[in-house]
Subunit: 188 residues, 4 copies
DNA sequence: AATGAATGAGAGTTCATTCAT
DNA sequence: TATGAATGAACTCTCATTCAT
């Protein structure tokens, strides 16, 4: 009965965690409502469907990554190695929190086969991620091989997140990050 | 072993593909019924729940992998490299079919956070996979570093499958396999 | 818990009355479920949507009219006048029952502007009705003017049903029928 | 009478068309809000419910008809026939606009069975309509038979409007009006 | 073994309505 | 006056499951 204002952004922020932990299909509007302290029906004032909400979630997380994480790769004044390390330090707590992994990786494997509407959001995220890594690798490598190393690194991190979740072991991610970093130093 | 082609096995076989493409939660018993040419109700003669069916599916696929894929790693008379190549050749068509990836990888990211019942099935599969790769790497590497290389390789393949599905590009898997193979030759 | 078989036809039959009295949009699946002694969800075993159910309802009523009412117009061995009277006697109790009028008339005014899916069902019914009346009028009138008299008669009956419902007065329908009958005798 | 163009009247005026085309139950407060350029909530400053709004709509349309349409029947200085023609000319564009028919006819068939609150508004309208026609017919007919002819005419027009909507044919209304007019000339 | 019919919980969504601002 | 945000009931529909046959 009391009016408690909720902003669109608050809803999205609170929904991120629910989707990241439970996935898209297993998460009901009721779950989200509870997490947001709203009634089920109130969601539809802000988003016209669960799908649209998820898209907003993907967009916000992607935007956050662009601004706060991937951007580190392009910072001036730090060595490529330092930027890599800084980037990992920023990223790690996000994806290890509650051992729930990467929202985009989770969503890719869950929904690529049954929700075409998400595909472009997912691709856009990974493309930006790969571009950021590529930028770092280009310090020591050709554009082309930097791209391949970057792809490889993203894959490895996503694979590591999968195993991290399966074995409840955050160290698997750490080792993967070390390997990604190592690749920077090695000759092509 | 008397080969008893029970209907149970046929159901499982047909269900594999549906689950692999659509995931667990998005797949309804109706979907499975259609795929199996059965009525929804008929499932419950063979399996007491959707969950139990999925477990049977995971078990059958795991068993198949043990017998037909991972076993290659332990074959006598072939070099480690040749066994790696043979194993890949066996595995590749399975996981690239319909670009639907690896059932266990898909299930891990979809259900680890919401279906504890599957966890052990998933872990068991990946442990056997890692063990097989480790066995191969041990030819050139210490037990410990062979384990790590093996873990790394599985992660990379799973990550590659994720990107393969996202970008509709089977070559991403092939490159990953080449890197996995390469690791065999290199010194630690 | 006990299994009580309901046939599609029974559901349709029971739904007719609910729709006729309450209209389409005001009738909920719960209302229909109650009327049929089923659970809401059970409907969807027989019909895949409320809309499809309504179409089945329209089809069944139309079929009934063709077989039992409009067919009278084409009977051999009775004068046109007698057939008219016989037809009215058959039709009257149907449309005066509960003073709920004609399902097709009701549905036309309620849904023509918002459910295009019903339009053809409604048109088909009225076309058959008009054809039946036309056949009778043709005894005394040219084809063309029989058609117009027939159209006029159907309109008048539908208008009479509207007023009957509004004023709770079945006599309004009776007078209309008398006028329709009268038209048969008069010269053009 | 000071013409006070209140917002209330504007709301009603804009709502008329929506209700006439879509009916009562299919029209949501959102639809009306959009049509009026208001927020849903703002309605409730002017009307305490959707039902009350509809009643205001019915009242305004009825008032308009009394003042601008039915009144023609009582004008001095014109023959009954001329008044009939004048009345039709006034009425026709209203009820053929968008082939949406007569709000009162539409509402009668949609809501007589489920919204008793509207009944008196509907009856009042039709009674005034019938009285107007009766007044015209009384020129050539007894009071009683004028009443019956009038009832019949209104029914026929409403029936014609139903068919007009169903078959997208405004001529059906025109023919009905001609018949209504014809009745004036004929002897009883 | 298999099916057809039913169940009941719960899904996503819509809606009329409320009310502090 | 008008609005933005919320409510909660009701809506259509889906689902995993049951079970007599």
């Amino acid at each position: 009965m009391p009016v408690q204002k909720t902003t669109k952004d608050e809803i999205i922020t609170k929904s991120i965690e629910v989707f990241r932990k439970q996935g898209y299909h297993k998460t009901s509007m009721s779950d989200l409502a509870t997490a947001c302290g709203l009634q089920k029906g109130s969601f539809y004032y802000h988003f016209k469907s669960k799908e649209e909400l998820m898209q907003a979630v993907l967009q916000m997380v992607h935007g956050y990554y662009n601004k706060k994480v991937f951007s580190i790769a392009y910072e001036k004044g730090l060595s490529a190695e330092d930027r890599f390390v800084k980037l990992f330090k920023k990223q790690e707590p996000i994806i290890t929190q509650d051992i729930a992994g990467c929202l985009f990786g989770n969503m890719t494997l869950e929904s690529i086969g049954n929700k075409k509407e998400f595909k472009n959001f997912l691709k856009a995220f990974f493309s930006d991620w790969i571009a950021a890594f590529q930028h770092l690798y280009q310090e020591n490598h050709s554009e082309e091989s930097a791209f391949e190393l970057s792809q490889q690194s993203v894959m490895e991190i996503e694979g590591a997140l999968m195993m991290m979740r399966l074995y409840d072991d955050k160290n698997l991610l750490k080792s993967a990050c070390l390997r990604v970093l190592d690749r920077l130093k090695k000759e092509p």
